[in-house]
């Protein structure tokens, strides 16, 4: 409960169809970097691909799974028809499978909404 992390759209310049997301502390000072970031790209046919995703990872705190879950939840709220993301880490893969993602080979996971 001490964490006030929220996943929000970052105010960063992107190309059309792309969104930068940041997992940030709502109580952070303005100069504090976000705890995690992700870039999603929306294709012309309404699918969304998670282009990159990264988060603070220390022995005490691994925020990547949290970022993945929050991002999937956020994307599910949009009108995207398909979400694709690359897994590769056991915990991330498990989180994706729990969210109904289907492995498509080469660590790619796809969710049809």
């Amino acid at each position: 409960m001490s964490s006030l992390l929220v996943l929000r759209r970052a105010d960063r310049t992107v190309r059309d169809g792309e969104i930068w997301w940041e997992l940030a502390d709502a109580a952070a000072s303005p100069d504090q970097p976000p705890a995690g970031t992700a870039l999603t790209r929306r294709t012309a046919n309404g699918a969304t691909h998670v282009v990159s995703i990264a988060a603070v990872s220390t022995p005490d705190q691994d925020l990547l799974p949290r970022l993945v879950r929050d991002l999937i939840a956020a994307l599910r709220r949009t009108d995207t028809s398909v979400i694709s993301i690359r897994g590769g880490r056991a915990e991330i893969d498990a989180a994706l499978l729990a969210e109904d993602f289907v492995p498509a080979g080469d660590n790619l996971f796809v969710l049809h909404l």
Binding site: S2, L4, R69, R77, D100
Partner: protein, 985 residues
Amino acid sequence: MRVTLLGPVSAECDGTDLSLGGSKQRAVFALLALNAGRVVPLDRLVDELWRDEPPSRATLSLQSYISRLRRVLGAAAPIVTRPPGWTLDLDPDEVDVTRFVALVSRARTLPSAEAIPVLRDALDLWRGEALADLRALSFARDEATRLAELRLSATGMLLDAMLAVGEADAVVAEARRFVTAHPFHEHGWQTLMLALYRTGRQSDAVAAAAELRRVLAEELGLDPAPETRELEQRILRQDPALRPVEGVVPDRRGGSERPDGGPLGRDEALAELDDAVAGRGRLLLLDAPAGLGKTTMLQALADRVQRAGGLVLRGAGVGAGTPALWPWVTIIRELAAHRSSPAAEGSASAAALALLGRGDGTGDGGADGPLSRTTLYRGVVDLLAAAGTAQPVAVLLDDAHWVDPDTLTLLGLAVDELAGDGVTFAVAVRSYEAGADAVRDMIGRLPRDRVRTVALPGLDPDAVGGLVHRLTGVVAEPAVVAAITARTGGNPLFVGELVRLLSSERRLDAGNVAAALPEHVREVLRRRLDRLPGQTAALLTVVALAGGPADVDMLARVTGLDPDAVLDAVESALLAELLTEDADGFVLTHDLVRQTLVEHVSGARRTRLHAKLAEALRARPVLTPQQGLDLARHLSLAAPIVGPAAAVPYLLAASDDALSRYAHEEAVRLLEEALDRLAAVSDPAERAALAAAVRGKLRTVRTWTSGTAADPPLLDEAVPPPTDPDSTAGWVGNLLMGSVGGRYGRAAEIAERALADGLPPIGRLGAHFVIGWTAFHRGRIDEADEHLRRFEELSAADPELRIPGAISTVEVSVAGYASLIAHVRGDEEAADRAMELAESRAAVRAQPTGIHVHLHHAWLAAMRGDAATAGRHARAARSDSERFEFPMFRLHATLLAAWSDALLGDAAAADRMDGADAAYAASGVRLWTAMYLMLRAEAHAAAGNRRFAAELVERADAAQAELDDACRSPRLLTLSKVLQGPGKP
């Protein structure tokens, strides 16, 4: 919309199949559809679909599925948030399962001939196995099994009905298919046997019985049931009773039970409420620690009053930092919305409505006339009394330990007058809170028969058991109830939170409940909060620090989330009943939730969040008085980031707002708080400048509202020059209040120096007023005239230029003094015109500006020797001063009224004037000292005491020399010479 669950899950709207997503999302939909029109608790959904996931993650996923489904289903089948879960707002008939069950139930009530098509319709709804694509989920398997049983039952009913109406041939074929598919279903075999018999195939019927016996023996090692064996025997002996009989299947549906919903275990307290509502009214005091049900009892009282056709008025907005008298603002606004005969109300009530009923804090005192605190209170009491004659009225005040002193004072008056006349008051106070004693003190001063304390002890085990049942729908074991009662002490809030926690953790059983019960309600709340998604907990923390209602816009601004994400995130908190929504935004359901949330946020993080909350409020184009106070509070708490002075302008504005409601004490408190904040400003120059502004206002308020000169003046300190409206108001107030003891010259010097050093227009405005005002009182009429004219020129050049301040309106004073100057110069027409200008300016200002104008009239008339006019205005000023509680003005008015009386022949008036002047001198204010001494001399001369009159004239001369307070009234100067006699210059 058509929903199919009797087969793979699907939904169709206007002929289009809806995309319901993956299996979990379809499962969420299926659970909602199976319970269409009913609430499916969040915990149940989590339990069914994310059994192995931590609750916070599960809730996050669930929220996103709900959000997605809302998008897919749209308005055709909205998903409505209804704590503790969601409801699919869909006609149950549009769900095939519901229709199937309803048709089968209906068929049971119909004659066989009518039941047949109904049952065929029911069975035709099936598209495969129920919930066929969700069989991996246990709830779906269980539901599918139940429905399959019902389908078999319906098929059996159909065959029975067909047999009953003589369709034995058709039944033979269908029954054969049925037993082939369900070889152990004996009722199917019985139907087949009977159908064969009725079609004249007795031997085939007996053979079917033999086949059943073989199947059962070989597959299960069982014999047929006695009913089957009996049927076989009856077929063998061709029992005539086996002929077709038309029958009706009895309706086996049970009745439903509706829970009462009232507070449990509170019979005695509820009896107190009933007694109060039925009786002549009283004050009910609910004084108990947090969680014992004070708010619930207030609601119970409200329900009772409303059921009795009465009116419930709630003092809302009660909380730390609520504007003065704000609970009464909300009460009067509510009353205004309900009153039926406004014409019958008196002027005080109308004025109270104008000031409080509007509730926008503009503070101009209402357009219909003056209103003092006394009148305001009278008006409120009269309004309540009028409402109470038409219907039962209850005034409710929750969390009264947080209200301001003025609200309590008015409450005490209202209870004293109305509690015996049918108005019920109910006040909830949290024991051990700092403000509780003030409430008890107020109540302690009331007549004892008007007050009843409603006891709220802990619930007994029976009530705790009832509460568990109400919350979970299950009857808890006595051991569970005993453990919960012992741990919570029967505190209903603690019980509720604990039961919700144990229920959501699936630990509500005797074995678990005794094992690891949290010891404190805060620990329970912490665990409940830990079950929420991280984003939701973050938003709740922001709500907790907001201190009052937080709307979506504010939450979005503070967290950087978009509004949709905010709404999604708060939903699970709404469902967990940790958060609720009112007209102004989201609020936590209990202060303990706030405390639990805030206690884990470090000081530095709180500071940053307060800064962000302040930023969000500052972004609003208009602030209500409450928001202004909230902003001041957030800025105060964010002082390490925004600086200690940031809150000061808003505290000054809040002080003005308090004055507009005649809440003088609150105004002083806010100004003192501003001074406290300024003590932390590190830059001495900045600190001095701001402090001077605040002290100036504080001195003004204190001087005019206390009846004595304020603290030692600031004149000898380095007073920074004014730069903006607030600092100008403070600077002017400082110089004026600092010089009312007779030091006009020093104030004038400071103002002249500031003017010479260069000031912005608002500062020049203030400086010209100070110089003009002091010059007049020093007898420097030309100088006074010049500076007051400059003031008018600056004002005319920029109408927006205005020195704020609710106590004294400078523009009115300028016109008033211009009138006196014109008189001294002998231009009476100009004097009258200036006085008319003062009146017109005062007409749009709050009191005490009106008193000021009356005093100017009285001073002018006294200078002119017009006792009648002076008396009229002095008495009006005195009356308003008493009503407005401005004792300093009253001293002036009393003095002038006595002079008028003396000149009009009242022999005792001169002595009264002596007494009034002594009281005035004791106040420490020396303004008008010389003129008042001359007027006293005139009064004593009129009474025949010329010697004392001459002595007073000498004292006036001495005062002019000592205090630099000169009287230039031509008439009084002439009179002085006459009274002093020949030989005096």
